[in-house]
């Protein structure tokens, strides 16, 4: 049986600061998947999460077409073939 890990992709605006190509990573929640991504890219953690582990206020994560519901715990479930999109929320000036 062929399994397809969730795929994580990132807003191009993050590339101003660090390299973060789209990648596949295992896990059954957004948190677990992201922890795998951070293992290979530790600096990325501080760009998406604050020091308390919470999703930064102006960062948005979608699983397929839905924004994550649990911005503190990132416990939103993900399954095979799901797309996780990391965007920046609209703000700034």
């Amino acid at each position: 049986m062929v399994t397809t890990m969730p795929r994580v992709s990132f807003t191009p605006n993050l590339r101003r600061h660090l390299d973060c190509p789209a990648m596949d990573a295992p896990g059954d929640t957004v948190r677990v998947v992201l922890e795998h991504v951070f293992t290979g890219n530790p600096r990325l953690r501080g760009y998406l999460l604050d020091e308390h582990g919470r999703l930064r206020k102006h960062v948005a994560i979608f699983v397929n077409e839905l924004p994550v519901a649990d911005r503190a715990g990132l416990a939103d479930p993900v399954g095979e073939g799901d797309d996780i999109f990391v965007f920046q929320a609209l703000s700034g000036g």
């Binding site: 600061h17 600096r43 501080g46 760009y47 604050d50 919470r54 930064r56 960062v59 929320a89 700034g92």
Partner: protein, 355 residues
């Protein structure tokens, strides 16, 4: 003139080399990014730039080559000890310590951090974080209280003074291990009369020391100008400073403890120059009198506000630089007697430093 001028702005860090009698304005580092603090460490020549990224948090970068290249280093992390404790919003000020590799950072929300490895990692200064009075600190201009001033005694670096908007002036005599409230004599007119002289509620906007006589500290406060001659234990108010008592910035003369400069604005709810005329005020007699210096500055129609870290004096005490939220950058010659506009097109200026 050989010193560079570092200009930290809302949209990048300008590292301005000397050019003629002023500075050239090059393309900035971190174009588009808000730079909240900048430090030139004279011990090793390193530059530090604190970024306040709108989406991705506060970051700190170090350059070993005068700003040609930058490396991202560590940032302070605020503890979460109870619900509602907030993460780091920005690094508001940076200071070089006495011991090799030691740096200090003041943050928003208000906390003091120490690094022993040139900013690679940061440790919360517990002695200040754990003072009971911290529970009553409140926001000044920002929603949260912030630590914006770190003054280290040049000959006895165990003696430190910091200031918080809004949480008063705090003093340490043991290199930051323990802290106690200073600031006796500061007066807060925004408080009920019985609390006006409570040192813990004082909104000092900036604290600056005379390098040669570091017991002399100047405070531009929310509702006045104050001077200390005992290292921040107590302050005396400068009476009736004209054209106003309100402002953010103060620059202390490095050699003359009687001289300091200020950048007044109307008042807290109207943060523009009085009558549209931008001036720098200077005292040369310890605050007994202030003179308004306006030659070369806009005489009318100015809406420039000078943030707390955006009025600086060089190591000789003769040359100043001043930047405004309107993006104007001025050079002040002859102790501020004559000003010259260097650029009217910069982003809002947060902080300046000679380097």
């Amino acid at each position: 003139m050989s010193e560079r001028l570092l200009v930290a702005t809302r949209k990048g860090l300008f590292i301005c080399p000397p050019e003629g009698e002023g500075w050239a304005i090059p393309t900035p580092a971190f174009l588009g990014e808000p730079v909240s603090a900048v430090l030139h460490d004279k011990r090793d020549g390193a530059l530090y730039a604190a970024l306040r990224l709108g989406h991705f948090g506060a970051k700190l970068h170090r350059s070993e080559d005068g700003g040609a290249s930058w490396t991202e280093i560590g940032v302070p992390a605020l503890p979460k000890e109870k619900e509602g404790d907030k993460p780091l919003d920005m690094i508001w000020t940076l200071a070089a310590g006495a011991e090799p590799g030691v740096l200090w950072a003041g943050t928003l929300p208000a906390a003091l951090f120490r690094s022993a490895d040139r900013g690679a990692s940061w440790e919360l200064v517990r002695g200040l974080w754990d003072v009971p009075e911290r529970a009553s600190w409140v926001g000044g201009g920002y929603d949260d209280p912030g630590l914006h001033s770190i003054v280290i005694h040049p000959r006895d670096p165990r003696r430190m003074a910091i200031a918080i908007s809004t949480g008063g002036v705090w003093l340490s005599g043991d290199g930051g291990d323990s802290w106690r409230l200073g600031g006796r004599g500061l007066r807060a007119e925004y408080m009920p009369p019985a609390q006006a002289f409570d040192p813990g509620v004082q909104d000092v906007h900036l604290l600056a020391a005379c390098a040669a006589t570091p017991e002399v500290l100047w405070a531009q406060h929310h509702n006045g100008i104050f001077r200390s001659t005992d290292g921040g234990e107590s302050f005396v108010e400068v009476t009736a400073p004209a054209p106003s008592r309100f402002g953010f910035a103060v620059a202390a003369h490095p050699a003359d403890p009687a001289t300091a400069w200020f950048a007044p604005a109307v008042k807290d709810e109207c943060r523009v120059p009085v009558a549209g005329r931008l001036v720098v005020t200077r005292t040369q007699d310890g605050g007994a009198t202030l003179e308004a210096l306006g030659e070369g500055l806009p005489a009318a129609g100015s809406y420039d506000l000078v943030y707390r870290h955006a009025l600086v004096v060089d190591a000789a005490g003769g040359r100043l630089a001043m930047g405004s939220t309107t993006g104007n950058l001025w050079l002040g010659e002859a102790g501020g007697a004559r000003w010259r506009l260097l650029s009217a097109h910069l982003p809002p200026i947060a902080a300046l430093a000679f380097a």
